[in-house]
């Protein structure tokens, strides 16, 4: 019998990556909508969002490496980089490759935001929704545990949470800043 260690690790790290991605999206939405009001420091939400994004990327890397090392399904290095090349469920695994690559691009774009331009950077950042949707489809279609109630419930809960947090973000204006008079725009010299 084949050693199932890497196969189990691959499944566990895939689910872990999905949970971390979900939490990162929720934390990212909380940066501006501030669902916990002043109970959570502004810097904490931003830090949490970045930290969770990096953790998710790490879990995805582990997911990819363990899938190559595992003997249950045959996934080579090329299949990790090119969507749809894997012999095992090529479309479903291809969705995962696409989500991982787009997600990595979004993370890499943060330190480059000035060079890219904030407007373009924000547009790119919005494609996180495509990453989340594709990762969900990948998990549902390729995941070995999808048919289990707990796993299906996890996907359902994640989609509901992201949808609810997005609605909250869209419908609620950011909490007003205290003690700040918003002044009309006027020409003023830039600070030296």
């Amino acid at each position: 019998m084949k050693d199932p260690t890497f196969w189990l690790l691959a499944r566990a790290s895939g689910l872990t990556a999905y949970v971390l991605l979900t939490l990162s999206v929720l934390a990212g939405l909380a940066v501006k909508s501030r669902p916990f009001g002043r109970a959570v420091k502004a810097a904490s939400a931003t830090d949490t969002h970045r930290f969770l994004s990096l953790l998710a990327l790490g879990a995805i890397a582990l997911h990819a490496i363990t899938l190559v090392l595992d003997q249950t399904v045959h996934i080579g290095l090329a299949a990790l980089l090119i969507p749809g090349v894997a012999s095992y469920r090529p479309f479903a695994t291809g969705l995962g490759v696409f989500a991982a690559e787009l997600g990595a691009l979004i993370i890499v774009s943060f330190p480059l935001r000035k060079r890219i331009g904030v407007r373009a950077w924000r547009r790119l950042h919005f494609t996180t929704y495509a990453v989340f949707a594709t990762a969900t489809a990948h998990g549902l279609a390729a995941g070995t545990d999808t048919h289990r109630l707990w796993a299906f419930g996890l996907y359902l809960g994640a989609v509901f949470a992201v949808a609810a947090a997005t609605a909250w973000r869209a419908l609620n204006r950011p909490i007003p800043t205290k003690g700040v008079t918003r002044v009309p725009d006027r020409d003023r010299p830039l600070p030296v």
């Binding site: 501006k32 502004a42 931003t46 935001r113 800043t177 205290k178 002044v183 725009d185 600070p191």
Partner: protein, 65 residues
């Protein structure tokens, strides 16, 4: 004494700076942050720089004149 600079090409108007150090930062109606004062003794400017999601605020410590 801290000297503060906002990179206006990065500011996206989150407003956390004006929330944390209202004596130093203000938001214009378009939602961009501006400085009320270029220098301050208030260590809250450090919190404001840390809280900026875009990393648009730089603070350097300078000798008081």
């Amino acid at each position: 004494m801290y000297r503060i600079v906002i990179d206006h090409s990065l500011c996206s108007g989150f407003g956390d700076c004006a929330d944390l150090a209202p004596e130093v930062f203000e938001l214009e109606s378009e939602g961009r942050a501006f400085l009320r004062a270029g220098e301050s003794d208030d260590p809250a400017v450090l919190d404001a720089a840390a809280a900026c999601p875009m990393g648009a605020i730089s603070v350097v410590q300078v000798e008081a004149a």
